[in-house]
Symmetry: D2
Subunit: 176 residues, 4 copies
């Protein structure tokens, strides 16, 4: 079981999701400030994503409404079969109600956000605390009990406002 | 539990799979003569197909090698996201080793074979006996025990050669 | 996947369930004549029986009502914890509606029927054809598809009456 | 999803497990001081306990080693079939490695601890914080994600020593 990283990890400061498009939702970044955020990195034709990763985050949404869930569609193979139009059909058929960002493709086979976070593949789960710091990066499957425990710990932490006594405009956000 | 139809059902005589293309395999029709055949009708973005129908026929293949399994990709929605190139990526990612026919699209929203068999949707399972007659048509999920029992019954039946004492060129085939 | 034995296997002729007691049911042996019979050999404190074997035969009962299911409680360990009174509580809590025979204990650690059939442990599944001959003996878990297929084959076979053209009083029965 | 109770709930102060016997372990109460404790209340012949409750706490043990798990065998039916000797056989067969207390029977059909906590049945899950206060009481099944989250929250809380700045001998314990 991977461990939650210290919030002070200097290599993992402010968050960036570099999206070429948000599918079916306005950019949710402003609304994520101060929240515990789960980013599910997936590909629509990735079997482990469809059978494990996506059902798990749907269970998280049903169980822990205080956790903000967003998807990141990071296509690094079968580009032609996993374009925006195909993704929309997939999200409709799988009843995916959370916002999904399409990871920006700059011509490399691996998209920008995936490279920036050094993700090893899909599915990957990223957990960010209320201050917007990356606290967990797990490739593959995490058990429901472990994921629940990580989220319970992060939900228990005070946000930056409470911690430092003042609201801030520049922390706790998920920016692109 | 649906019941096996009588082989003499006159409304369900010779079989026709009208394929615009067989993906990744030569047309397997000649090799299916005299065999018990399971046709799994699916769409690559149909959630019930991916979670139930396709895993079930993969279990059939592992368990009952004497049953010939073929897929029929009958696209009646999200046509642009489920084209041949996308299907090839799907079949690769899901390690689908059996032959898959693409149901012919003649401009109607429902493809030709799907209309001809009056299929209600996907997934659907069609079972043909050694004489090439349709014996079961099930929409949705059939339990593994029921499907195993149907196949056991059909495997127990003699083919047309044994039954009539002579090989035939014109029965027991899956034609398109 | 084990294979169905030939019905003519001379080492496996007439069936004998040596029961010290039938729990909750009259002795069902007369009613089993001419039927396909599944005997589930189990112990109430055997984890594989509780998690796999018993749920599977309950699925068989729901799916294939023409198969006669009986249980055989063959206790070879924890004798004091798996006596008749404990078994009755177990059968009640697990909603087991099929007849259960208690395998006779003659002072040996392994009970009589278990020894007679050379069973290796629990759960074991025994399948008998309409003529009362043992056709399958599987220790451990058989997949639902395989079990369904075996049963489909056996259900397809004619009973001794049909096969030999005359009813018989002395075949096709499960005797103790 | 039930919610964690406030630690100051006056109706749920000091913990009492009234055990007539601890099976296979020394009384673990002293070692539980200052720890987050999960008490799984079960009966060995309770189907929901065997299929859901016990496997879940075994997953908790594998995943969250900082959570102390104990069982409480609260027999309120089939007393004769669920005695200490039968329980030992059950614990052996199900590979249950955590300490199990037998809830004291004082002649009433419902045992003492079960009555004291007002438990509605089995399985029930009780969560205690590091100060020994009951924080969750759930009857039936809690999802893995929810249980993980509760435990994550409780693990995040400081024990009474850290909170009040001094070790105490009289809080944070599970007493009987």
């Amino acid at each position: 079981m991977p461990v939650l990283q210290s919030p002070a990890d200097p290599a993992r400061s402010a968050i960036e999701l570099d999206a070429s498009e948000w599918v079916g939702h306005e950019t949710p970044l402003a609304s994520l400030r101060g929240q515990v955020v789960l980013v599910e990195v997936f590909q629509m034709l990735c079997r482990g994503c469809v059978s494990n990763g996506i059902p798990q985050v749907q269970r998280v949404r049903q169980t822990l409404p205080d956790v903000a869930v967003v998807g990141l569609h990071s296509v690094f193979e079968h580009h032609e079969a996993q374009g925006p139009q195909s993704l929309r059909a997939f999200l409709y058929e799988y009843r995916i109600g959370f916002p999904v960002a399409i990871d920006r493709n700059d011509g490399e086979s691996i998209p920008v956000t995936m490279r920036a976070y050094g993700l090893q593949g899909t599915p990957s789960t990223l957990l960010f605390d209320r201050a917007g710091q990356l606290r967990l990066h797990a490739f593959g499957t995490v058990s429901d009990i472990a994921l629940g425990a990580y989220l319970g710990v992060l939900l228990s932490e005070h946000g930056p406002e409470q911690a430092v006594g003042a609201p801030t405009e520049t922390t706790g956000q998920l920016t692109r």
